[in-house]
């Protein structure tokens, strides 16, 4: 809110510190002053009032009270009621006010001023309004705004002669009712909106905007003033419904002290009496059924010291509370603090401790490392493995990407309120944006290797729930000259290598998925992800990270290596180009039985001396037993059985065999 320095000064006899100094004091004890601007002979302080203090500090009075507490300057309000010269005629004869639902309007005060001379407001009012960003209109409207800026209580003025039936009714609007505002906007109303109506129509959207019909103009003579207290929820609801926020709605939405109304009403009537030569009629109409009472909060001064971590004596605590206009009773360290109704934000001891701390000065609180029980710190497995995997991948030449979780292509989960069409859905895979990264990077680099670890989202339709999963995806784009297949195997090698490094070893690739040039990565029966060609010259993989962590952290049993020597035999065979390595492996393992400890593919050859439709595969077969030393004869026999099976069952041509 824009606050005038000179206006603040008007509350005090003592001179205020210079604007910069004052701004600092406010920033460190109350609210952040975002900007100080010179404006003619005045300065504007732009103060960021947060929602917890909007009810009492969106006003010069509120800020002045803060300054009074910080600087120990005496602060006294003017009693305007005494200064009003009331006529004998009763205000209640001019207007009859009714509240239909007192929950929506806990208080409604009104005064009637007659013989008003409408004209421009005096220069000092105009200047202050403009300093605070408001446009002067005429004396009555300007005074109403002026009172709001000073007290925080929004005011409204009606032309009494334009109100039908001399009635003001606070009620919910009816569906189909319409109203044109002072600034000529048309509003369609319904029962979610609170209005002030005369006998026939709504004439004001309560707490938000006045209607044009009973507006003050050059001919206005008799005015009805309103200072009301509306339920913050209904104002918030109305304001959202008609999509309009005003200085008044902002204040009502945050809640206001209902005891503020008469103060503001008297100030407003007095100023109209003095400035517009009006005659204030007798009595203030005041519909106020449940008078708001002061609150009492019990405060243990030990708790103040313990929570703030300072050695502040009781005397100083009490002094600060009094400077804030709280009354303090009680003995020794058990205080009873009486909170004025204007401080809606204070209801528990912690609220008071904040008040004490900030006025005392948070900067005076010393640093003290906590003395705490020694608890070993833990890290979720998930994050541990995330770091491990990232390290492995960067060492394999991959760079880390962070992409948006929001994407433009249709996915199962849509945002209700996207900021743009580009970011409308929650991603279900990391791959699309990695592909885009590759395309963007292609302009600069030939060879790009990227990975990302992040959350993806799916809809569980049966339970209408979101399934959130962490994934790891990686992508390689190739030089034009590279062969796709080469890079495919390299990427598979990357998958093998990093899975091995985190302790997952029995990986196999299942080609069961229908898509061409793609394989599922499996560990036992568990599906871990997929690896494959994404498009020409681009290969990648995506892995379920949660599953990865689960597999990596499973308890593993240590298997003693065999004490007996292993014997290695190489075998090489000519197979059809489309024969899968896994078929050969399976057959060797099947016929070899328990003595075949491991089979490693060490070469795939295609080219010279090999027909185009064929390829050559070469394996090491490792034979070993846990309970004896194998002899050559035994191994040779087993080798022969394997060769026979490969030739007969597999139909492959075994090429050579070396001992």
């Amino acid at each position: 809110m824009k606050i005038s320095y000179n206006w603040l000064q008007s509350f005090f006899e003592k001179k205020l510190p210079v604007p910069d100094k004052l701004a600092d004091l406010l920033t460190f004890h109350s609210f952040e002053v975002e900007e100080i601007k010179k404006c003619d002979k005045d300065w504007i302080l732009d103060i960021d009032i947060l929602p917890n203090r909007s009810h009492d500090c969106l006003s010069h009075q509120g800020i002045a009270r803060e300054i009074s507490a910080i600087l120990k300057y005496p602060f006294k309000l003017i009693d305007y009621k005494k200064k009003i010269k009331e006529s004998k005629e009763l205000a209640s004869k001019v207007v009859n006010i009714k509240i239909e639902d007192k929950n929506l309007c806990p208080r409604y005060t009104s005064r009637v001023v007659v013989d008003v001379e409408i004209g421009p407001s005096p220069k000092w009012i105009q200047e202050r309004l403009m300093t605070c960003g408001l446009k002067p209109i005429n004396n009555v409207v300007d005074i109403a705004n002026y009172v709001m800026l000073e007290t925080g209580q929004p005011m409204h003025a009606f032309d009494a002669d334009k109100i039908k039936g001399n009635k003001l009714i606070v009620r919910r609007a009816k569906k189909g009712e319409k109203m044109v505002s002072l600034d000529d906007e048309k509003y369609d109303l319904d029962e979610n909106i609170l209005v002030i109506a005369d006998e026939k129509d709504p004439i004001c959207i309560a707490g938000i905007k006045g209607g044009i019909n009973p507006g003050i103009d050059g001919k206005t003579k008799r005015i009805i003033l309103e200072a009301a207290n509306f339920n913050p929820l209904i104002i918030r609801q109305s304001s959202k419904k008609i999509d309009l926020k005003t200085d008044a709605s902002w204040r009502f939405e945050n809640g206001l002290d209902s005891n503020l109304a008469q103060e503001a009403m008297n100030m407003c009537a007095y100023l109209i009496q003095e400035i517009a030569n009006g005659m204030v009629l007798k009595g203030m109409i005041d519909l106020y059924q449940e008078k708001k009472q002061v609150k009492i909060v019990n405060l243990d001064t030990f708790k103040v010291r313990n929570l703030l971590g300072i050695n502040i004596p009781d005397k100083e605590i009490i002094d600060i509370l009094k400077r804030l206009d709280f009354k303090v009773k009680g003995i020794k360290d058990k205080l009873q603090v009486i909170i004025p109704t204007r401080r809606l934000d204070i209801s528990i001891p912690e609220d008071l401790i904040e008040e004490i701390g900030r006025i005392y000065g948070f900067e005076k609180i010393p640093n003290q490392l906590p003395s705490a029980i020694l608890i070993p710190s833990k890290k979720s497995e998930d994050l541990i493995y995330q770091n491990k995997v990232k390290d492995i991948l960067i060492n394999l030449g991959f760079s880390e990407a962070y992409n948006y979780s929001l994407v433009s292509n249709k996915e199962s989960i849509e945002l209700a309120n996207p900021v743009s069409q580009e970011q409308k859905y929650l991603r279900s895979s990391l791959m699309p944006l990695l592909i885009k990264n590759i395309e963007d990077n292609k302009r600069y680099f030939e060879n790009v290797r990227l990975f990302e670890i992040g959350k993806v989202f799916h809809l569980d339709k049966h339970q209408a729930q979101v399934v959130e999963k962490k994934k790891l995806a990686s992508i390689i784009s190739l030089d034009e000259k590279d062969k796709n297949s080469q890079e495919f195997y390299r990427l598979k090698g990357v998958v093998d290598s990093f899975l091995n490094k985190i302790g997952i070893s029995d990986i196999w690739y299942d080609d069961a998925i229908t898509e061409n040039r793609k394989a599922e990565i499996k560990v036992g029966n568990e599906l871990l992800g997929w690896v494959g060609e994404i498009k020409s010259k681009v290969v990648g993989f995506e892995i379920d990270f949660d599953k990865l962590v689960q597999l990596a952290t499973e308890e593993r049993i240590y298997a003693t290596p065999s004490k007996y020597p292993a014997i290695v035999r190489d075998i090489s065979m000519l197979v059809d180009y489309t024969t899968k390595v896994v078929e050969v492996l399976n057959l060797i393992n099947k016929v070899g039985g328990i003595l075949v400890r491991d089979v490693d593919l060490f070469d795939i050859y295609k080219g010279k001396n090999i027909p185009d439709s064929k390829k050559n595969l070469a394996f090491h077969i490792i034979f070993q037993s846990d309970d004896r030393t194998l002899v050559d004869k035994e191994v040779n026999e087993l080798q022969d059985i394997i060769i026979t099976a490969l030739e007969k069952e597999g139909g492959w041509e075994v090429r050579k065999q070396n001992a």
Partner: protein, 318 residues
């Protein structure tokens, strides 16, 4: 005199690296006009006794030097032979680069954050990005239908009563529901805000939440922990921390935290405060506890640390 010549010759032979140089040395000392040859020649003017003595020494030296030259010659030749058989390499040429990837700056920051807080006994946790209104707001004492809720511009999911978490704070209640104090945790993670993007705002950002709860945890402890963190983070003992009053519904008192590095300006760096009793209540605590909580943007830390001036660069992979 011959001994001086010998010393000098040995020195030169040792330093010689090629055959050409050796030949030069031979000529200088042993050749027809060489220094030793001249010494030998000059002997003829001496008496026979002297001639015999000195001649003997000079001849010995001559032999020694020519032997040394021969040896060195062999050495150079043998070296050259081996080299000739191998591919020639220029050891001054630059090495072949092994492809090396790099981590994202936010990951670098996150790791440092995790390490520093772990060293101070904080456990590190992860939490969901899609949240319920209950954990994102209700358990955090953010009143329904109150302007305070407008402090967090929220993305809602269509047809689902769910939202994208606007901060890492929902994990406070999620964790405290299952764990009793004393506790010390941090939660790094991605958060979302429904807002227009510019150089310092984006629809997503990375935050980490800190929470410490015990019997007597105070504002003074919060200040000390934050200062210790920044000292380690910026690897400097010259870090100042100050608190300003602020408002977040889940803390009371609430603060903005500013830091100042050596010769730098004050920077607004995070929000913090003492956990509001209603947050403890929502988590099911009956006993009275005290604790602090804070939330810091890792994007902002990375921007400061690596002098990046546009937050949107974090999501561009170039």
């Amino acid at each position: 005199m011959p001994n001086q010549i010998k010393q000098k010759a040995i020195e030169e032979i040792t330093q010689a690296n090629d055959l050409k140089k050796l030949e030069e040395i031979y000529r200088t000392y042993i050749g027809r006009k060489g220094k030793l040859t001249e010494v030998l020649r000059s002997l003829k003017d001496l008496s026979e006794k002297e001639r015999k003595e000195k001649g003997k020494i000079a001849n010995q030296i001559k032999q020694e030097i020519s032997q040394m030259i021969k040896d060195k010659e062999q050495k150079i030749l043998s070296k050259k032979d081996v080299n000739d058989n191998r591919e020639w390499i220029d050891i001054t040429a630059p090495g072949i680069k092994i492809p090396q990837g790099h981590l994202h700056p936010i990951t670098l920051v996150q790791r440092q954050v995790e390490d520093i807080f772990q060293s101070m006994g904080f456990s590190v946790l992860d939490g969901p990005e899609v949240e319920t209104e209950y954990y994102n707001f209700d358990t955090l004492n953010v009143p329904k239908d109150h302007p305070a809720r407008d402090m967090w511009d929220t993305f809602w999911l269509k047809d689902l009563n769910l939202l994208l978490r606007t901060h890492t704070s929902p994990m406070q209640a999620r964790y405290m529901e299952k764990n009793n104090p004393p506790l010390r945790i941090i939660i790094p993670g991605r958060c979302f805000r429904y807002e227009a993007t510019d150089s310092t705002h984006d629809v997503q950002f990375n935050q980490f939440e800190g929470l410490m709860v015990g019997e007597n945890i105070s504002v003074s402890n919060l200040k000390a922990i934050i200062e210790e963190f920044f000292k380690q983070f910026f690897n400097s003992s010259d870090i100042k921390v100050r608190l300003r009053p602020s408002y977040f519904p889940f803390v009371e008192p609430g603060f903005e935290v500013d830091i100042k590095r050596k010769d730098g300006d004050w920077l607004e760096i995070m929000g913090a405060g003492m956990v509001h009793p209603n947050v403890f209540k929502a988590a099911g605590y009956v006993k009275e506890w005290q604790g602090f909580a804070f939330g810091m943007g890792m994007d902002r830390l990375a921007m400061i640390k690596y002098q990046i001036d546009d937050i949107r660069l974090f999501y561009k992979m170039i």
